[in-house]
C-alpha cells in the first residue's frame, strides 16, 4: 500500500530533502566493495620465529658447553703447569746443589784434581809473564 501511495505521490515534487535520490528510481544504490582480504598464511612467520628461538637456544647451549669445556681444559692445563713447575723446581734445586762450591770441590778432589794456583798473566805490552810463580813453564 505504501508503494502504491508512493507511486501516486511521485509526480508531485516536493522541494524537500529526501533520502531518496531524486533521479534514481527506487533502486538500492550500488557501491563497489573491496573483496574480503585473502587470509594469508602465518606459517613462514611462525617458522622464522621458532628458528630464531631455536638458534638462540642452541647458541647459548653451545657457548655454555664451550665455556664448560674451557674450564675443564683450563684445569687440566693448570694441573700440568703445576706439575711442570714442580719438575722445574726440583731440577733447579738439584742443579743449585750440584753447583755449590763445596760440592764442586769435593767432586774435583774425588777425581784427583788439585786446586789451581794463581793465574799467570801475559802482558802484551812487553811480552812478560806476570803473576803466578813458575807459570808459563
Amino acid at each position: 500500500m505504501s508503494a502504491e501511495q508512493a507511486a501516486a505521490r511521485a509526480p508531485r515534487v516536493h522541494p524537500r530533502p529526501s533520502a531518496a535520490p531524486s533521479a534514481a528510481p527506487a533502486r538500492p544504490r550500488l557501491r563497489l566493495v573491496r573483496p574480503p582480504a585473502q587470509a594469508r598464511t602465518h606459517v613462514p612467520f611462525v617458522v622464522t620465529c621458532m628458528a630464531i628461538l631455536a638458534a638462540a637456544l642452541l647458541a647459548a647451549l653451545l657457548l655454555n658447553t664451550q665455556l664448560a669445556a674451557g674450564a675443564y681444559a683450563t684445569r687440566t692445563m693448570d694441573l700440568r703447569l703445576a706439575e711442570l713447575a714442580r719438575t722445574e723446581q726440583s731440577l733447579s734445586a738439584e742443579l743449585d746443589a750440584n753447583k755449590a762450591p763445596a760440592h764442586l770441590a769435593e767432586q774435583a778432589t774425588a777425581l784427583g784434581m788439585q786446586p789451581a794456583g794463581s793465574t799467570a798473566w801475559l802482558r802484551l805490552a812487553d811480552g812478560t809473564v806476570q803473576g803466578a810463580t813458575g807459570a808459563g813453564q
Binding site: P101, W121, Q130
Partner: protein, 603 residues
C-alpha cells in the same frame, strides 16, 4: 517378523534416549566445572605461594646456601724472593711443599672400596694413608679419629706425596700449599743468610733484616667449584692476587766465601784457636765480598746446633784491635802534619810517658833508629806512643770515630755491635796512650777491615754493605742505592799510609802475607783480650790490602786465642795470602807488574 510384540513409537524413543544418554544435566556440569576450577585455582595458589615463599622470602638465603656449597677458597701463596750472590748464584730459594690436613668429622662418615676391600672411617683412612706418608698406621688412626674439624696430618710433604694422597680421594683430607726454604750451598754464608721460621718469615740474618722485601703478600681466590674441582665458568669469583716478594742480590761472592770459610776453618783447627773470622770488602764500593767464620750454621737445619745461632761474629763479636789500629794513629799524625814517613825516631824497648805510664814493645830490643815507616812496619808500641802523644786527645778520639770506631756500620745484619770507644774525657792516664796502638777500645772485625779499605780508597770511607741490588717479581733489576761516602783523610795522607803499610809486608812483621805477583800492604795485630769467663787471651790478626798499587780488596783475618803462636804475622798473615790471592784470581785482578817504591824504615 512384523513387530507386534513391543510396539514402541520411535519418535518418542529418540528424544527420551537422548535425554538419558546426554549424561549429567547442565547444573551438574556447572558444578563439576566449578569444583575443577576451584581445585586448579587452589593448586595454583599453593604453587604460587610456594613460589613467592621460595623466590621472594627465602630466595636469597637458599641461593646463598647453594652458592656456599659450591664455593671454595684457595690461598694463593706469595713466593718468597730468592737470595743470590753477586754472580747470581742462588744462596736461598723457596720450594713448594704441602701441609696435609684432615677434617675428622668428614673422615668418620667416609668409606670407600679399594681393590675389593672396604675401608671406612679413621682406621680405614689411616690404613690407606700410612704407606703413602711413610707413617705408622696406628698413630695416623689416632690423629684422624675424633670430631675436630681441623688437624694436621703431615707437614712439609713433597708435592708428589700430596699427589698420591689426593688420588686416594679420602673425603676430609685436604692440603694447603706452603713454601719451604732451601739453601743449596749448605752452610755457605749461613751466618749471614740466617733462616726462616716455621711460618716462613725470616728468623735471623739477612732473611730477617730484609724480610719485608722478601716476603711478598699472600693472596686468596674464592670461586665456584664443579665436581671435578674445575672452576664453574661464569660463576662467582673473587680473587686477591698474591704479590711475590722481591729477590735480593748480595755482594757476597760464593766462591770466595767458600774459600774463606775453608781457610779459616782449617787455620782455627791448625792453630788451636777458639774461633776466627775473615772479612773481605771491595775497596772502592764497600761491598762485602766474603764474611766467613770458623763455625757456620747450616740454615737448612738450624736446629742441629743451637751454639751456632749467634749470626755473624764478624759484626757481633768485639775485640781490642791491637796494632792494626796504629794505622789510624799514623794517618792522624801525617794528616795533622806532625810527622812524615821519613821522620826519625830513637825507639827504645821501654818508654815512659810524662804521666808515668810505661809501655813496652813486643820484643826486647836495644834502641832502634826507625823512621815513622819503620815504626809501623816493625809495629813498635813505644814508637807509636812517641808519635801519637803529640796528637791532642780529642783529635785522637775524633780520628778513631771518623774511621768508624764506636758506631755501627749499618750493614744489613741483625745484632751488629758498635764496639766501644770511650769519650776522650773518660780516658784514664793509661788508656789515652793505649788507644794509639789499639788497646782500650773495642771493634768488630768488619770495622777493623773498613779502616784499611778507607786508606786504600784514597781516604774515602764507603759504608760497607751486603745488598747489591733487587730483582722485582717481573724480572726488572734495580741496583741498590750507592753507599754513603765520607772523606776521612786526604788522598795524599791515605797514599802515604798505604805505602808505609807496604813496608810492613815487604820488610816488617807481615811478610808471610805476600802474594806472588801482587803488591800487598797490610798490618799485623796482636792484642790482649779478655774472654767471657774473665781469663786473658790473645787476638791475633792481619789486615791487608791488595794490590797495593791499585787497591781492589781489603781483607782481615782474625784469630781468637791461637795456641801455636800469638803473633798475627805468624798465624793470620799466611791465611791472608791464601785467601786474598785466591780472590784476586777469582775477580780477575791483574798482577801489579810494578815494583814498590818504599820509604826507608831506618836511618
Amino acid at each position: 517378523m512384523p513387530g507386534t510384540s513391543a510396539p514402541r513409537v520411535p519418535t518418542q524413543r529418540g528424544p527420551r534416549r537422548a535425554a538419558v544418554a546426554g549424561g549429567p544435566s547442565i547444573t551438574l556440569l556447572n558444578r563439576r566445572r566449578t569444583v575443577l576450577v576451584v581445585a586448579v585455582a587452589l593448586l595454583l595458589t599453593v604453587f604460587s605461594g610456594r613460589l613467592v615463599w621460595l623466590q621472594g622470602v627465602q630466595g636469597q638465603a637458599v641461593a646463598a646456601e647453594a652458592l656456599q656449597s659450591r664455593l671454595t677458597t684457595a690461598q694463593l701463596v706469595a713466593a718468597r724472593g730468592q737470595i743470590t750472590d753477586a754472580e747470581g748464584e742462588v744462596l736461598a730459594t723457596s720450594v713448594d711443599r704441602y701441609d696435609i690436613e684432615a677434617n675428622q668429622q668428614l673422615i668418620r662418615t667416609w668409606s670407600a672400596k679399594v681393590d675389593g676391600t672396604t675401608y671406612t672411617g679413621a682406621a680405614g683412612a689411616a690404613q690407606l694413608l700410612a704407606p703413602v706418608l711413610d707413617a705408622n698406621a696406628a698413630e695416623l688412626g689416632a690423629t684422624l679419629d675424633g670430631d675436630r674439624g681441623f688437624v694436621y696430618v703431615a707437614k712439609n710433604v713433597l708435592p708428589e706425596v700430596w699427589q698420591a694422597v689426593a688420588e686416594l680421594r679420602i673425603n676430609g683430607i685436604t692440603a694447603s700449599q706452603v713454601a719451604d726454604r732451601v739453601y743449596p750451598n749448605g752452610n755457605l754464608a749461613g751466618n749471614l743468610l740466617g733462616w726462616v721460621d716455621a711460618e716462613g718469615s725470616g728468623a735471623t740474618g739477612v732473611e730477617a733484616v730484609l724480610d719485608d722485601e722478601l716476603a711478598g703478600t699472600p693472596g686468596s681466590t674464592t670461586y665456584e667449584r664443579g665436581r671435578g674441582g674445575q672452576q664453574i665458568p661464569g660463576g662467582y669469583q673473587e680473587s686477591t692476587p698474591a704479590v711475590d716478594g722481591r729477590s735480593v742480590q748480595l755482594t757476597i761472592n760464593s766462591d770466595i766465601q767458600w774459600k774463606a770459610q775453608q781457610a779459616i776453618e782449617q787455620q782455627v783447627a791448625a792453630t788451636g784457636s777458639d774461633s776466627g773470622t775473615i772479612v773481605m770488602t771491595s775497596v772502592t764500593t764497600g761491598e762485602v765480598l766474603a764474611m766467613a767464620e770458623s763455625r757456620t750454621v747450616d740454615p737448612n737445619d738450624p736446629g742441629a746446633d743451637s751454639a751456632l745461632w749467634g749470626g755473624s761474629s764478624a759484626v757481633s763479636d768485639v775485640f781490642e784491635p791491637g796494632s792494626t789500629a796504629k794505622i789510624i794513629t799514623m794517618a792522624a799524625a801525617v794528616e795533622t802534619g806532625l810527622v812524615d814517613p821519613y821522620s826519625q825516631f830513637e825507639v827504645p824497648y821501654q818508654y815512659t810517658t810524662p804521666n808515668n805510664q810505661t809501655f813496652k814493645d813486643s820484643h826486647e830490643h836495644a834502641g832502634l833508629r826507625l823512621t815513622t815507616t819503620g815504626i809501623l812496619a816493625e809495629s813498635s808500641n813505644t814508637g807509636t806512643v812517641m808519635i801519637g802523644q803529640n796528637i791532642p786527645e780529642q783529635v785522637r778520639h775524633d780520628y778513631l770515630a771518623k774511621f768508624g770506631f764506636g758506631q755501627k756500620t749499618g750493614i744489613e745484619l741483625p745484632a751488629e755491635q758498635s764496639g766501644r770507644l770511650w769519650d776522650a774525657d773518660d780516658w784514664d792516664g793509661r788508656t789515652k796512650y793505649a788507644v794509639l796502638f789499639g788497646q782500650g777500645l773495642s771493634v768488630t772485625a768488619l770495622q777493623a777491615t773498613d779502616v784499611f779499605a778507607t786508606i786504600a780508597n784514597g781516604g774515602v770511607r764507603v759504608t760497607p754493605h751486603l745488598v747489591k741490588g733487587w730483582t722485582e717479581p717481573d724480572g726488572t733489576y734495580t741496583p741498590a742505592q750507592p753507599a754513603e761516602t765520607t772523606q776521612v783523610v786526604s788522598p795524599e795522607t791515605a797514599q802515604t799510609v798505604l805505602t808505609m803499610m807496604e813496608s810492613a809486608v815487604d820488610e816488617g812483621t807481615g811478610s808471610a802475607a805476600a802474594i806472588p805477583g801482587y803488591r800487598v800492604a797490610g798490618k799485623t795485630g796482636t792484642a790482649q783480650a779478655w774472654a767471657a769467663d774473665g781469663t786473658q787471651g790473645i787476638t791475633a790478626s792481619f789486615i791487608g790490602v791488595a794490590p797495593a798499587d791499585d787497591p781492589a780488596i781489603a781483607v782481615s783475618v782474625v784469630l781468637h786465642n791461637p795456641r801455636t803462636s800469638e803473633w798475627g804475622g805468624t798465624v793470620a798473615a799466611p791465611v791472608f795470602s791464601e785467601v786474598a790471592g785466591y780472590a784476586l784470581t777469582e775477580l780477575g785482578v791483574a798482577p801489579s807488574g810494578t815494583q814498590p817504591e818504599l820509604f826507608p824504615t831506618t836511618w
